[in-house]
Symmetry: D2
Subunit: 282 residues, 4 copies
């Protein structure tokens, strides 16, 4: 038998009857709703978001045919929408600089089968990760980028055709607006600070100097402003005056791994929707 799980993302201005229309649409096409999440920025006059995960069994429907069938409903609600096959794996490119804890965590989760994506490459401006990446049977690219020569063209040549989205697993060079525009797909970054505090370089040092009692890490989409794109997930931990820079860095590593893995899991499962410089994470 042929059972598939499909995911519908749908958004429009909120109006009466949307949920009913969509639920009915899925039912009429032989789907059984497994889980449906919706959120409205304001029940009176807000923007409406919906994510539906539904099962289709022994059905001739394809993602493309369902998307076509949904077009007339979407038109009536002036909605944007997209349907995904849950089992079609995204290609997640990884870029990393010196620190390898986030890289290792992602590779481990990938090999264990939990992180259901393909990893077409790991690209770094440090050669040191070659051996470990190749032990996972993954392609490794070393591009000696640095502050004065970011080598963005060379990088784009590798990553653009090979990846559906990009994870900056502690990649320490800022990417230019031009790079972002040319790549044109989602980029998730892990920032080792509790945004919007402590943007830019050395956030743990900034936290130490401010004397905060809680540190954090933030996974967010990259956009043109430094460390200011929509936040996907944050992790925090209590610290004290006893923590010095090295213990903050050590504690921070766990936070970074967790925040990034959370964000990547949610993204891959199509749970993350960007809206107005924020995210909805179903």
């Amino acid at each position: 038998m042929n059972t598939r799980i499909l995911i519908l993302l749908f958004q429009c201005r909120d109006r009466k009857g949307i949920v009913a229309k969509i639920s009915d649409f899925i039912f009429r096409h032989g789907g059984n709703i497994i889980t449906a999440d919706q959120y409205s920025t304001d029940p009176q006059a807000g923007h409406f978001f919906m994510r539906v995960e539904f099962q289709v069994k022994d059905s001739p429907c394809t993602v493309a045919s369902l998307e076509r069938a949904l077009a007339s409903i979407a038109k009536r609600f002036r909605a944007q929408y997209k349907i995904y096959d849950r089992d079609k794996r995204l290609r997640m490119g990884i870029m990393v600089s010196a620190a390898d804890h986030c890289l290792m965590d992602l590779l481990y989760l990938w090999r264990s089968g939990e992180l259901r994506a393909d990893i077409p490459f790991v690209l770094s401006n440090y050669p040191r990760h070659q051996e470990i990446v190749e032990q996972f049977n993954l392609p490794f690219y070393f591009i000696p980028a640095h502050k004065r020569d970011r080598r963005e063209k060379d990088i784009l040549k590798i990553i653009s055709p090979a990846s559906d989205f990009l994870v900056l697993a502690r990649y320490m060079l800022v990417l230019s607006s031009n790079f972002l525009k040319k790549y044109g797909k989602d980029i998730i970054n892990i920032h080792h600070g509790f945004l919007p505090s402590f943007k830019g370089a050395d956030p743990y040092r900034q936290a130490l100097e401010k004397g905060v009692k809680v540190i954090g890490a933030t996974a967010h989409f990259v956009d043109n402003k430094l460390d200011a794109g929509p936040i996907i997930s944050q992790e925090v931990e209590y610290v004290s005056h006893k923590d010095d820079l090295s213990s903050l860095i050590r504690k921070g590593r766990n936070l970074e791994k967790q925040a990034l893995a959370d964000a990547v899991f949610s993204y891959i499962q199509r749970r993350v929707i960007r809206y107005a410089n924020k995210t909805i994470v179903f």
Copy 2:
């Protein structure tokens, strides 16, 4: 204009098309879904639960007429269901023994308008709370119950007609099966331990003796077995060897207040569904 928010709780064996049927039903009766949560214990052959909050505007529908109209759908799915008016306040009776921190917290939340319920009485086996309860303009009953004479008949006479559900805000006498049966409505208890560890008396002392590094508090429904009813919410906090009994008790008070307030908020908003000795908390 006449706008009301209604809440539908619906459960049955999972089958294709339930969500569509219910969404359509609400739409046809002029409702606009604000939020819908559903959960299935198993998408193949599980039990299905749904909570829908929907707005009805300028409609002649009443809770009763909607419930009648839903009957035929419910019959087809062999479902149990109930519709509530969100603004119809529940009557929440409170019973308390000596410790008053949970009581004070509930009274404060009630007076601030956050806790949208009526409090028909506070009943205690300690007379000391009379003054503070009356400052909130609430009726106080002192029933000198104790281990050898629980005075359950006298208590039932007061609480049964006056309350829709009962909160044991640190009431330290065990209620008999007979009491539970006669009262016949939901009872929420706060246990000052991390269940299922540390049932019964003196859970903080038990935690101290075991040397745990985390303590907790548990809000749960009361049933016939001691401290074993379905858990609604739990709160935890890290402790260390430095904590003695008094600091565990002090830290625990915050946990108890939070776990109980959480449970009560969820319950009042009809977010809590009991199923198979567990709870679903939407």
Copy 3:
């Protein structure tokens, strides 16, 4: 018998033998160390801080005589130091505007005997708290201060002679540098945001607009810069896109109560030392 607990706070540049000298000093004066905490910003050439809690039994020593006796050691180390009688209660003045959750929490902790301080007054620019404060048998002052007339002279006349330190339990007017200078004692403020993010007005709205996934509250000493004094304690909680302004405010209240109560407890127990715009909290 006459048993007292004394607390010594001691700080100087770090040098060999400080702990030995101080321990020996306490021993020679009949004291038994209950707990000693020390911290050095850098073991090689840092600044050294120590807090010792010790028991003195049947001893003619007074705080004053011990302080005199310690002077020669302190001189050798160029140290600052102070000895306190743990049971001598500080006078904690409270100022509050409209929101009363932190006030109520402090009053409850005070009445329960946990918060071992005297409360000489509650002063507010809102008259509404009069009844509840007087139910606790505490003096209440209403001073109709507002943005264009902060009435600082009137306030100082009341608070300066009556209090050893001040708690701003959600007092919403900024205090002038002149006020701080004239009062001249410690002021602890609760800020309803996770500093250094979200200074100034409406921090929950700022957090909402930024789309953070964690909110926080910060208890800190007040100094001349807005919301920038040394942080004493912070509490955080995870939030999501579903949280609107009112739920952030509601969740925030718990954080504020906890962060402020923590800071006040630590302060009263002489566990808080200010140093270089940060705090050491033993």
Copy 4:
């Protein structure tokens, strides 16, 4: 120059002057106290514990000579004590069954230099870890132990001479009393449940069936009773009805890694003291 950091652990019945005596002892032998922690189960008549980390510079003192010198003080207080060289690395043996997340985490921390111990071997009853362990240039032993033949003699032959302590990084066979006795050194186990709840097999399934709202993991010393030895560290995380067995297991992995790494770090730094079936973790 020759600078060393030494660690003294000291315990006895609490009496006046202990801290002074020890501080003075260290000072007289040219030591500078970096950090000192002490704890007394009861200041009146309790048991006293102290851990002192001190720096010795250009001194002829050895661990052995200092231990001899301390003997007379220790005798007076009827104390047990031990001095360690902080930089003398412990040999940490690792045993593991099928699940490798804790193993991988320890190996990563070890290779990064954070975990300052030697790893003389990884021993498993599953052959699958051979490749990864050897990539870290560590010896791997496969012993096909199972429930009916635990192969304890063979295991002891390998681990006894090679290790100072043992970490069970998800080793799923119970070790016999005889094994514990013959090994005779500390064994740290990670239990994938929040002890004392959910001992024995399948703790996540137990948690699921009980419907708890918080899950946990516990690192503890192994003794004769199943999952009942002194707890060193615990980590917890909130869960909901939506979590099924696989998501509990996934979330639990993070908790297990953290609790075990915490316990191992504390142990290696000589911060863990066993006392009366509990631990003091300085």
